[in-house]
């Protein structure tokens, strides 16, 4: 590695033509855009967490704090905020924006102005969603899935919220185009498809999914708006429409969207584990092919969300079969991560703690996915808390823990400061305990038949609900410690060296935080 000069201007100093807040909003620097996205995402995540805590609180004393109508709005907004404002844009817009160009040795993404535009589009979509929460008519009460015909008839601000999600979709598509183009065109000499960092590979696969799947969501949402505003009956059987058509269209996007969320998370894990195991990943090619396999087969499994929808039995069998096939590349990835630990020299820093926990929690999420992807068990478990537990293990235990791994791993690079290891690990431990208390009890609740989206329930489910709610408090405490530790490091942490972890990718060859132009000279990578 070259000697890093002591004097340089980081991207925080180089403001460009504008001052103050405009130096951020008008910036085309991928790092500034990434940081802004990260702040917005964490803000929405915090709101989502608070709403989740409120739901859990209601479930130990239904009707005492919030009423039925409010509860329905709270779980809907929790879902909409967490899915559309936090986890779908998630890793690509925050970490992807910041690190993708650096990792391939580029000065910026292929279309920096388009990148700025997608950030504005995200803000516009988020604003519409936020307005829908407070405008007259009330926050959406349909669940994040907006199932027709209920979403066509409901009186709340569905049109506004759906329009917001529509705009967010454009942000997602344009980010996908930008990243795919960047990876094709802007790789530095020596950065090839055979040595591309795995995080970049997963962003590439994700970019294609965003590009190809999101338009389907856009059309579906337009159909809802046409139905609500002009009475067009795409989903209304009285007008020759079909409610199941909505479910097909919705899940044609929303299942691949699961891979938009999880693929980049797998990318982070594939970066973090080799660095802290001090060796190369086991089976680089297998990890790449499995990412591409997931991204392509993932388009054809949406029907497993509809096993009890009234869809034909033949279709159910086929969708179940393909669902099991998509589990294979996921299993291969888990084997490769565990295999990387063999004959390693494992350093126990916080990012590694989060990454290894990811493997455990994501395995539970994935394996329970096989249980509900099976035809017969699904008849029982569909629409129950088992599903809620399953997707929180995948989304939070998987993507959430990967984001926390990435946040600690790249914190020194993004902020130029080091965080404290001890509180990070204490926070990790409390979060891990709280997470399992909160969500594992939901598996049992679901197995016992507790339906999801219930404001109130028969008394026999009370004990498990109580356990789950206590888990939510432990989890919140863990998150608070982690957040407090990182925030204090932001202001008081010691200065970070260029490469605190012994990383092998290009971002660790430049100072922390990086200069505005990333590289003084275009780097050349040799194997």
């Amino acid at each position: 590695m070259e000697e890093i000069t002591a004097q340089y201007e980081s991207f925080y100093h180089e403001k460009g033509r504008y001052k103050g807040i405009l130096s951020w909003l008008m910036s085309t620097d991928h790092k500034r855009i990434g940081i802004q996205y990260l702040c917005a995402l964490l803000a929405f995540f915090s709101i989502g967490v608070l709403l989740g805590l409120l739901m859990r609180l209601n479930l130990i004393m239904p009707g005492k704090i919030i009423g039925q109508e409010t509860y329905n709005r709270v779980f809907s907004v929790h879902g909409i905020v967490m899915i559309f404002l936090f986890i779908i844009p998630g890793i690509p817009v925050a970490f992807g924006n910041f690190f993708l160009p650096i990792m391939i040795g580029a000065r910026d993404v292929a279309f920096p102005r388009l990148n700025r535009f997608t950030w504005w589009t995200y803000l516009a979509g988020a604003t519409l969603v936020v307005i829908s929460l407070f405008a007259a008519g009330g926050a959406p009460d349909t669940g994040w899935t907006f199932y027709a015909p209920y979403s066509i008839r409901a009186k709340a601000n569905i049109t506004l919220a759906v329009a917001g999600v529509f705009v967010l979709g454009f942000s997602s598509i344009l980010t996908g185009i930008n990243f795919v183009t960047t990876i094709h065109r802007l790789r530095a000499p020596g950065v090839t498809w055979q040595n591309l960092p795995l995080f970049v590979w997963t962003l590439y696969a994700t970019g294609w999914v965003q590009l190809l799947a999101t338009p389907v969501l856009a059309i579906t949402l337009i159909f809802i708006i046409l139905g609500r505003v002009f009475g067009v009956g795409f989903f209304d059987p009285a007008k020759g429409g079909d409610p199941i058509l909505y479910e097909h269209l919705f899940w044609t996007y929303s299942h691949p969207a699961v891979y938009i969320m999880i693929l980049p998370a797998m990318g982070i894990i594939s970066e973090v584990i080799p660095v802290f195991a001090r060796k190369k990943i086991f089976g680089y090619r297998a990890v790449v092919y499995s990412a591409l396999g997931i991204a392509s087969v993932g388009y054809f499994v949406w029907g497993h969300h509809m096993f009890t929808s009234g869809m034909s039995d033949t279709a159910r069998i086929i969708f179940s079969f393909i669902t099991f096939l998509v589990a294979v590349p996921t299993g291969v990835k888990i084997f490769n991560w565990v295999g990387t630990l063999y004959k390693a020299s494992i350093v126990g820093n916080a990012p590694m703690y989060f990454a290894l926990t990811f493997i455990f929690l994501f395995s539970i999420g994935g394996l329970t996915g096989l249980i509900i992807g099976s035809l017969e068990p699904n008849l029982h478990l569909h629409g129950t808390y088992f599903i809620v537990a399953h997707f929180h293990y995948v989304m939070f235990g998987g993507v959430g823990f990967a984001i926390l791994a990435g946040l600690h791993y790249w914190f020194p690079k993004m902020s130029g400061r080091m965080y404290e290891e001890r509180p990070a690990k204490i926070g990790w431990f409390i979060l891990f305990v709280g997470f399992n208390v909160l969500y594992f009890s939901m598996f049992i609740l679901g197995y016992e038949g507790m339906p999801r989206r219930y404001f109130d329930y028969p008394p026999r489910y009370f004990t498990l609900h109580l356990v789950s709610t206590i888990g939510s408090w432990i989890l919140a405490m863990g998150l608070a410690i982690i957040a407090g530790n990182l925030l204090s490091a932001l202001f008081r942490g010691p200065k970070a060296p260029a490469d605190p972890w012994g990383g092998r990718t290009l971002e660790w060859t430049i100072p922390s935080p990086p200069p505005a132009e990333n590289f003084a000279e275009t780097p050349v990578v040799r194997d």
């Binding site: 199941i244 099991f324 394996l367 099976s374 629409g383 016992e448």
Partner: protein, 315 residues
């Protein structure tokens, strides 16, 4: 083979347990391997990492093995699926009508009720639909569910093996009263069932009005025992004072016959304070309405009605 309270329930439970057991074994294997590696290859014990040569053979095994495993799981999820989904020809058909937020069950002889009664030992086929939005019919004890979709007929079937009373839940979110859209399934000895089935059009309470309330699904939102559900209770309603909103103005009126009839014919005209304006207009004949109001009269006025009404207003 596990036996449950119904034929399909046992088969589904068996399949669930086999697949779950396989998943638990896989999870333990992955986690144990990971923990062993973390322990054995931690920095203190293994200061220098060794790069491991990738072995194509091992990678093929690690791909083929999970493929075989998941195909096995798929098989155990599928093996009884055709049996569970295809009712025998002699199954007794019962229509299930879902609406916001109640269930209605209609038998072949025209009998309609809000509690599903079935004979033990005889196959029953449910033919299901919805009058408004999508609902889902779920009997947790039998491990089966299927959506009730407007404009579509879906089906379920089962053969009750044991007598008993079981929960029926709605498991597709359908709006405000979703969590109270519950009913009961009563599996009864075949002889008892035939007796009940034969006594046409006579409600358990001995009142035509109660039977109508059950058949029309009113009891999905209104109780007859004083408990608060989606809408106000019927107990003590008749002849009492009610605070309602009429044309955005609040007023207190007496719940007389005219008020009760108006509340059924045009539910949005006077909305009781503390409750949402969401009751649908249901088709009711004049004669039926008279029966219903007559029944509400028998639920009468009781002393703590005023207290409960005041309580409701503060909720």
């Amino acid at each position: 083979m596990i036996l449950g309270p119904s034929n399909v329930g046992g088969k589904i439970e068996t399949s669930f347990l086999i697949i779950t057991a396989a998943c638990v074994v896989l999870l333990i294997a992955v986690t144990a391997t990971m923990l062993a590696f973390i322990w054995r290859y931690r920095r203190a014990r293994s200061p220098v990492a060794e790069d491991v040569e990738e072995k194509l053979g091992l990678e093929i095994v690690l791909t083929v093995l999970p493929t075989v495993l998941v195909l096995g799981m798929f098989y155990f999820g599928w093996v009884d699926f055709d049996y569970i989904r295809n009712p025998p020809k002699d199954a007794m058909p019962i229509d299930v009508i879902a609406r916001q937020w109640s269930w209605s069950f209609k038998y072949q002889n025209g009998r309609q009720t809000d509690t599903l009664r079935v004979p033990v030992g005889e196959p029953v086929k449910l033919i299901m639909t919805s009058e408004d939005v999508t609902h889902s019919f779920f009997i947790p004890a039998y491990r089966i569910k299927e959506d009730c979709v407007p404009g579509l007929k879906t089906h379920l079937w089962f053969n009750a093996d044991q007598t008993g009373t079981f929960d029926i839940f709605c498991t597709e979110y359908c709006g405000l009263g979703h969590s109270h859209m519950r009913a009961k399934l009563i599996a009864m000895p075949a002889a008892d069932f035939q007796k009940w089935y034969g006594t046409k059009e006579e409600a358990e309470g001995g009142s035509k009005g109660l039977e109508l309330l059950q058949a029309k699904g009113c009891l999905g939102c209104h109780t007859t025992d004083g408990a608060r559900k989606v809408g106000p209770t019927f107990r003590g309603l008749y002849g009492g004072k009610v605070t309602v909103t009429t044309n955005a103005k609040e007023r207190t009126i007496t719940a007389d016959e005219a008020y009760l009839e108006r509340s059924v014919r045009d539910p949005g005209a006077d909305v009781v304070k503390g409750f949402p304006n969401i009751m649908p207009k249901l088709p009711v004949s004049d004669e039926e309405l008279r029966e219903i109001v007559g029944y509400l009269e028998t639920l009468g006025q009781d002393d703590d009605h005023a207290r409960r009404n005041g309580h409701a207003a503060h909720d």
